[in-house]
Amino acid sequence: MSGHTGVELRASDAALIQKIVGRDESALAALYDRYASLLSSLLNRILRDTQASEEILQDVFYQLWRNAAQFDPARGSLPGWLAVIARNRAISRLRRHNPSEGGELLETTVIVPANLENALAQQQLLGRVKGALENLSSEQRAAIELAYFEGLTHSEIASKTGDPLGTVKTRIRSAVESLKRNLSS
């Protein structure tokens, strides 16, 4: 990982958030440049629709502009928070649900065990995540992807794959234990 500490990371994102609270448009542009690529990749993977992905991407950052004062960097990671909002909205659209209210998401705390501030750190993290996924069996990885990228529950995954519900639950639980071991450090 890079030489930045978590405190520096939060201070940097926090400083930009404070500027956004003061209606500094360039601060929002800076955060967009820092995290838009990550969110765009996530949204396109979920929706497989460029136009819909770009609409949600714009909407997530506009929500950040409107609600920045309510985000407390001390309570968690900004990119983690943005990714949770983006995923929630994309899954809602995919499943034709109404998106969750922004107010609920503002209460969401996300503690990411890594530095995501710069592109190099993001690149290093990518390798770590890929390594953690490669440690899973193909069935485990497929189940995790159905859950994360398609928003399916245990029983929906069992229905989609034709596997017994108990098998699916065991498979996902052991996959999550493995990811936890490999991604927590």
Binding site: R23, E25, W65, T109, A147, R173
Partner: protein
């Protein structure tokens, strides 16, 4: 209040979104009442969020940033206009209402104008980039035309007629070549190539292997076509071969036409 979840992975499963029914309800009823579990859930959310990094990289188009900043700029302008109108209103009285009546429409007009100008600016920037690209292309074509005219008028330019080889498709291809200028122009026609095949023109140097001068697609008329030859290279001959569609790095097919440089 329910007790702590018995298995620590329950938080990760909840963050992943796979839990249903009682398992999901147990987490949702307990976490708001327990700071320790709320923190554990935040960490689980962070771990699960890292899965976003496994998505193939897709960069958003520049238009998204433009639209976002336009939206933000317009909302800021609109908010400023609202603040301006709110102040006199709070002050009350005839003058407050009078200013509000003037500034509200002005604020709305300003916000609309900002969006319009932003969009127009983005459109003009794209149009300018397109015009610049057109201009560059036209300059390139003009330069080529000048070079072609220079080559055709030069006294030391030689004309090489390529002869059809026995049993090969018919054609009439000519290359005008100037060794000092290091350029050649090819034109003429050749019978359509068989399916999945292309004609390919080669420069045969005095020394070394033939050098590809380009692919003549599937045959038919050949528009005058200028080639710049490697510096210092003297051509011994020009040839056309029949190659797999799209051409090859070195000739592999039969020679269709060939002409020595006299």
């Amino acid at each position: 209040m329910s007790g702590h979840p018995t298995r620590p992975e329950d938080f990760d499963l909840y963050a992943l979104g796979v839990l249903e029914g009682e398992e999901k309800a147990a987490i949702e009823s307990h976490v708001p009442t327990c700071a320790e579990c709320a923190n554990t859930l935040a960490e689980a959310r962070g771990r699960i969020t890292l899965l976003a990094f496994s998505a193939p990289r897709v960069e958003p188009s520049a238009a998204v940033r433009e639209r976002l900043m336009g939206q933000v700029h317009a909302s800021a302008a609109s908010a400023a206009a609202r603040r301006a109108t709110d102040e006199p209103e709070r002050a009350g009285g005839f003058f407050g209402r009078w200013w509000a009546a003037v500034l509200v429409p002005v604020g709305v007009v300003l916000a609309i104008a900002t969006i319009f100008l932003w969009t127009e600016n983005a459109h003009l920037s794209r149009e300018l980039a397109r015009q610049r690209a057109n201009l560059e292309e036209q300059k390139k074509q003009l330069d080529e035309a000048r070079h072609m005219a220079d080559l055709l008028e030069a006294k030391d330019t030689v004309s090489v007629a390529l002869a059809v080889q026995p049993g090969m498709p018919k054609g009439d291809v000519r290359v005008r070549y100037n060794s000092k200028m290091g350029m050649a122009v090819c034109d003429g026609w050749v019978e359509p190539a068989p399916a999945n095949k292309s004609y390919q023109l080669w420069v045969v140097p005095m020394e070394g292997k033939p050098i590809s001068a380009g692919v003549i697609d599937r045959g038919g008329p050949i528009n005058p076509w200028m080639m710049k030859l490697p510096q210092g290279m003297a051509a011994k001959a020009f040839a056309v071969t029949l190659e797999p569609e799209g051409g090859m790095p070195q000739p592999t097919g039969p020679m269709v036409l060939v002409g020595p440089v006299s």
